[in-house]
Amino acid sequence: MERVGIFGGTFDPIHIGHLITAQSLLEIRKLDKIIFIPCFISPHKLLTQNSDPQHRLEIVKLSIQYQKQFACSEIELNRKDVSFTIDTVRELKKQYDYIDLIIGFDNLIVFDTWKEPDELFKLTHVVVMKRIIDKGIEYKHQYYEMATIIKTPYVELSSSYIRKRVRHNLHIDFMVTHAAKKYILQNNLYR
């Protein structure tokens, strides 16, 4: 049985922090594959003015091209509507029996506000990435104990920081893959 992890996000753009974390999870969770799923509009990052979805998708594809255990799915982008994780999971369950749903620590905090959280636990193993900088939480809803919390490497880098650097004509070497950097500059993104 193929064990896959699904890793959703805006990926605007995907950076080495995402890739390092994904590689770490692949090993710790003994997964066969991690599927990156760029979202169309994340319901939890309301109305964020994301870069064109096709650009984000292309940058993900370029960034993972040499790691054969990484894949990318257009499932949420193709839906062209608000993406709820449960809809994506139901679709992917037709293909995969075993799914790790990989989420950030911030998403665990608000997991009770997600659509059909109980169903997500039935269909997947919810794996939470906890970085060393993530503190404990005060409000432990019922899902807190059900999730698997994994300590992941912390790379102090964010997509917004990268966009800001591009906007200010600063280098983004070592923050994104070479191919991603080339694509961003060629397409004049984040200006």
Partner: protein, 233 residues
């Protein structure tokens, strides 16, 4: 964490001073005042169960100043009751918050005409405020207005945008996206705007799952109004 959070309850119309209090539907001015004060007291009580009163500020209309005395104000910390004129509420919300404790890192803004907030909701907000990223957390009413927002990095533009967009959630959030914050929308709450809302408030508070939205004392205050205006239920 807790000591570094300031909460501002902002009520831009007089609610303590009956003479100027805006009537809720066909309520008398006294009962309208009682209703709005109850909504405020309820939220104040919930927040003060997790934060010291020193960190809770009330921003009121100047016209309420005339009656800052007696029992009505006893639940509040008087030194944290701030008064502003109408022009400030209309044009310059930002100046309200210059009064905040300079040591406070986190900031919660509340327009207290709603019910539905619980202590776990507040703890959830604190957990998000602890994140390393800059966060903006919202609660909106069922009427799609922002009634609470919290941030771990105060920026004057946030308040200006909210005010310019009259707290309408969709238009405000679209504009806030230009600022570098992670946005979190939490569960909606119930606000009182239209006459039918009173009946819905009654139904809501009658349901067992909402018992933790207010204390027995607050429930009794609401019940007093439900009895008084039973024709609306």
């Amino acid at each position: 964490m807790i000591n570094s959070t300031n909460v501002f309850f902002v009520i831009p119309n007089p609610i303590f001073n009956h003479v100027y209090c805006r009537s809720y539907h066909n309520f008398t001015k006294e009962d309208s005042s009682y209703l709005y004060i109850t909504l405020l007291l309820n939220l104040y009580e919930i927040f003060s169960s997790v934060l010291p009163k020193e960190d809770l500020f009330l921003c009121l209309d100047n016209r309420d100043q005339e009656i800052v005395s007696g029992d009505t104000f006893s639940p509040f910390l008087l030194k944290n009751v701030l008064f502003f004129d109408e022009a400030t509420f209309t044009n310059d919300y930002v100046s309200l918050f210059d009064k905040k404790n300079p040591g406070a890192k986190n900031f919660i803004f509340v327009r207290p005409k709603f019910v539905g907030l619980t202590t776990p909701d507040i703890l959830q907000i604190f957990d998000l405020l602890l994140l390393e990223d800059n966060v903006l957390i919202f609660k909106k009413s069922l009427h799609k207005k922002i009634v609470l927002f919290a941030t771990n990095k105060f920026h004057r533009d946030i308040l200006s945008l909210l005010q310019k967009n009259n707290f309408v959630a969709d238009s405000t959030l679209k504009k806030l996206c230009a600022l570098d914050y992670q946005l979190y929308k939490l569960k909606n709450v119930f606000s009182l705007a239209h006459v039918n809302d009173f009946k819905e408030l009654y139904q809501m508070l009658s349901r067992k799952e909402n018992y933790n939205c207010c204390s027995k004392q607050m429930h009794d205050r609401f019940t007093h109004l439900f009895i008084e205006y039973k024709e609306l239920l």
